[in-house]
C-alpha cells in the first residue's frame, strides 16, 4: 500500500489555510470553563440563579463567540 508522495500542487496554500495566530484564541473557551474558582460561588445572583449556574451558562456565549470569531478570521485565507 506504499503510496508515492508526489508534490501536490495545492500543498502550500492549503497548509497556510489551517495555520493562523487567531487559532490561539480557542484556548480561552477551553481553559476558562474549567477553573472552578471563577464560577463556584453563590453571589451575585441573576434572576435567582446562583453564580455557579448563570456564569457557566454564560460561558456558552464565550465559546460561541470565540469559535465564530476564529472561523470568520480564518476562512478567507489561502485565496479560496
Amino acid at each position: 500500500m506504499a503510496a508515492p508522495e508526489p508534490e501536490a500542487p495545492t500543498t502550500a496554500p492549503a497548509r497556510a489555510k489551517d495555520h493562523s495566530p487567531w487559532n490561539w484564541l480557542l484556548f480561552i473557551p477551553i481553559v476558562v470553563p474549567l477553573v472552578p474558582a471563577f464560577f463556584n460561588g453563590d453571589s451575585p445572583r441573576v434572576f435567582g440563579f446562583p453564580r455557579f449556574y448563570w456564569l457557566q451558562l454564560a460561558f456558552i456565549l464565550l465559546g460561541v463567540g470565540t469559535t465564530t470569531l476564529v472561523y470568520q478570521m480564518t476562512k478567507k485565507r489561502g485565496g479560496r
Binding site: 508526489p6 508534490e7 495545492t10 453563590d42
Partner: protein, 549 residues
C-alpha cells in the same frame, strides 16, 4: 394505571408513527443513484450541508439518555451533575481544528471509520482492530441506554406489564420499527427524523423553563428548595455548589468527557457525513445551542425537587428509578396532551442516536473486521449489505441487554465505555497531527490504559455499591493524603500516553519496523472537490484532479 394516561399515550403514539413513516421515506430523500454503497447507506453520501449536520450531530450527541440522566443526577447529587455544561462548552473549541483534519484525510482516502484512518496512518491492522473493537464495545451499551430513556417515559405513562416480556413489548416493537427503517434508509433516516426530534425538544424545553418556574414560585424558590434538600441529606458531597473534594473530579470529568466525545464512532459518523470543512467549522459555533438546552434540561432536576416529585420504584425492591423524575415532573405539571408531546420528544430523541450508533458500530465491523479479516475483496455493495445486517444484529443485542439484564449493567458499561474510548485518543486524535508514535507503542499504551482504567473503575465504591460505583477515583488510593477525587479516564489516558511514548523510544532504538504511512501531509487539508485516492490505484497527481472552486 395506563388508562389515566390515555391522552399522553395517544399523542406519544401518533408522533412516534409519524417519524417512523419519515424513516422509511428517508431512503428517497436526496436519493443517490446507487444506495448499495457504504458511503451512501452509512454516511448519507457524505453530502450533508450545515443545517442537516447541525440537526444530525446535535441529535446524535445530545441523546435521550442524556436528557433523562443529567437532570436525574442533578436531582440526586446537585451541582456535580452540571458538569455536562462545561463539558459541552469546551468540546467545540477543543476539536475545532482536529475534526477538519479528520474530515479531509477521510474524504481523500474514503475512510468510513476512525479505525480505517489508523490502519492507513500506522500501517497496522492489529491497532486498527483494537480501535474498532474498542469503538464497538463502547457504543453497544450506549445504544442500550437509549432504551432506558424510552422506558422511563413508558413507565411514567403506566405502560407496564406483569412479566418481563409484556413489560418490554413496547420497546421491542419500537426498536423493530427503528431497525427496519435504518436497514432501508441508512443514515438518511436519523438525519431526517432529527429535524422532528430536535424541534419537539426545543419547544418542550422552552415551555418548561418559562412555565414551570412561574408555577413553582420563581428560580429563587427552585434553588432554595434544592439547597434545603441537599442540606438535609447525609451525603457530604451533594449541594447546589461544589465543595473542596469534588472540584477536581468536576473539572477532569468535564474535560475527559470532552476529549472522549468525538472519539466515539457515532460522533465521527456524523462528522464524516458532512459535505465539506466549512460545514464542520460553522457547526462548531452552532452546536453549543444544544449545550444551552442541556443546561436548562439539567435544571429540570431542581424543578422536580421544588415540585416535590418522588421517583418511581426501581427494578429491585427498595430502590428508586431516578430516571423517572423528569417524566414525572411533566406528568404532574403539564396538561396531558403537552406531556404526551414531551414524552414523544424523549422517545424519538432515543431513536436518532440509537440509529446512528448502530450504523457506526456496523460500519466498524464491516470495514475493520469483515473486510480486513474475512473477505478482503468485498465489493462496495457487499460492504453496504454486511453493514445493514450488522446494524440489525447490534439492535437485537441492545434490546436483549435491556430485556434480559439489569439496566444497571448497561449503565456500568456506559461508564466504562467513556473511559475505554478515551484510550483511542493517542492513535486517532494525536495520530491526526503526528506520526511520531510507533504502532507498537500505541498498542502497548492502549493495553495499559485499558487495564488501569478498568482496575480504577472497579475500585470506586458508592454508598450503595462496592465496585463500579462511579468514575470519581479517590486520590488516597494512590497514597496521596487527600480526600479529593479525580476522573478515572484522565488518569488512564495520561498513563497510556506515557507508556506509548516510552515504548516508542524503546522499539525505535531496537530498530523495529515502523510500517509505511499511507497518508501525506497534504491529505489533511483536502476539501470538497479535491480528488479522492481510489483504493487499489496509487495516487496520480495530475490526472483526475478536479478544479478547485
Amino acid at each position: 394505571m395506563w388508562r389515566d394516561h390515555l391522552t399522553e399515550i395517544i399523542v406519544f403514539s401518533l408522533l412516534f408513527l409519524l417519524v417512523s413513516g419519515m424513516g422509511f421515506v428517508a431512503a428517497r430523500w436526496r436519493a443517490p443513484k446507487d444506495m448499495a454503497h457504504l458511503d451512501e447507506w452509512g454516511l448519507g453520501g457524505r453530502s450533508f450541508g450545515g443545517w442537516i449536520t447541525w440537526f444530525l450531530v446535535g441529535g446524535d450527541l445530545y441523546t435521550a439518555y442524556t436528557f433523562v440522566a443529567v437532570p436525574a443526577l442533578m436531582f440526586g447529587a446537585g451541582a456535580a451533575g452540571f458538569f455536562a455544561v462545561p463539558y459541552t462548552i469546551v468540546i467545540y473549541p477543543l476539536v475545532f481544528l482536529v475534526l477538519i483534519r479528520l474530515w479531509s484525510v477521510s474524504h481523500r482516502h474514503g475512510f468510513v471509520t476512525p479505525a480505517d484512518f489508523v490502519r492507513k496512518r500506522f500501517d497496522s491492522p492489529v491497532l486498527a482492530l483494537l480501535i474498532a473493537i474498542t469503538g464497538i464495545v463502547a457504543t453497544m451499551p450506549y445504544i442500550a441506554l437509549q432504551l432506558v430513556g424510552i422506558e422511563a417515559v413508558l413507565k411514567t405513562m403506566g405502560v407496564t406489564g406483569d412479566n418481563a416480556l409484556a413489560r418490554h413489548l413496547p420497546i421491542i416493537i419500537a426498536f423493530a420499527i427503528l431497525a427496519a427503517y435504518t436497514y432501508q434508509s441508512g443514515l438518511r433516516a436519523p438525519a431526517l427524523i432529527a429535524f422532528v426530534k430536535d424541534s419537539l425538544i426545543y419547544i418542550v424545553i422552552l415551555v418548561a423553563v418559562i412555565y414551570l418556574p412561574y408555577k413553582l414560585g420563581g428560580w429563587g424558590d427552585i434553588f432554595a428548595a434544592a439547597d434545603a434538600k441537599f442540606d438535609a441529606s447525609p451525603n457530604p458531597n451533594d449541594g447546589i455548589l461544589l465543595n473542596g473534594n469534588n472540584q477536581l473530579q468536576y473539572v477532569t470529568l468535564a474535560f475527559g468527557s470532552a476529549l472522549a466525545l468525538f472519539l466515539y464512532p457515532h460522533s465521527i459518523t456524523g462528522v464524516l457525513a458532512s459535505r465539506n470543512r466549512d460545514v464542520i467549522k460553522r457547526n462548531m459555533s452552532a452546536l453549543p445551542a444544544y449545550s444551552l438546552l442541556l443546561g436548562l434540561i439539567a435544571l429540570l432536576g431542581y424543578m422536580a425537587i421544588a415540585a416535590g416529585v418522588k421517583p418511581l420504584p426501581g427494578a429491585k425492591e427498595g430502590t428508586v428509578d431516578s430516571n423517572t423524575v423528569v417524566p414525572l415532573l411533566f406528568d404532574q405539571q403539564f396538561p396531558d396532551w403537552f406531556a404526551g408531546v414531551a414524552y414523544a420528544a424523549i422517545g424519538i430523541g432515543a431513536l436518532v442516536p440509537a440509529a446512528i450508533m448502530s450504523i457506526a458500530a456496523a460500519n466498524l465491523f464491516t470495514r475493520n473486521i469483515y473486510k480486513e479479516y474475512l473477505k478482503r475483496d468485498a465489493s462496495p455493495a457487499q460492504e453496504a449489505n454486511v453493514s445493514k445486517i450488522t446494524s440489525l444484529v447490534v439492535k437485537v443485542g441492545a434490546v436483549a441487554c435491556i430485556v434480559f439484564l439489569d439496566p444497571q449493567f448497561s449503565i456500568d458499561l456506559q461508564l466504562i465505555g467513556g473511559v475505554i474510548i478515551l484510550q483511542t485518543l493517542p492513535a486517532v486524535a494525536l495520530g491526526l497531527y503526528t506520526r511520531w508514535f510507533h504502532r507498537a507503542g500505541l498498542i502497548a499504551g492502549w493495553a495499559v490504559g485499558m487495564g488501569l482504567g478498568m482496575w480504577m473503575l472497579y475500585q470506586v465504591a458508592s454508598p450503595t455499591r462496592k465496585h463500579f460505583g462511579g468514575s470519581a477515583f479517590p486520590l488516597s488510593e494512590f497514597g496521596f493524603d487527600t480526600t479529593k477525587t479525580i476522573y478515572v479516564g484522565i488518569v488512564a489516558v495520561v498513563v497510556n500516553l506515557a507508556v506509548a511514548a516510552l515504548v516508542t523510544l524503546a522499539v525505535r532504538a531496537a530498530k523495529v519496523a515502523e510500517g509505511v504511512d499511507g497518508t501525506t501531509a497534504d491529505d489533511y487539508f483536502a476539501d470538497e472537490g479535491d480528488p479522492r485516492v481510489t483504493p487499489g490505484t496509487d495516487r496520480d497527481a495530475d490526472s483526475a484532479r478536479e478544479p478547485v472552486a
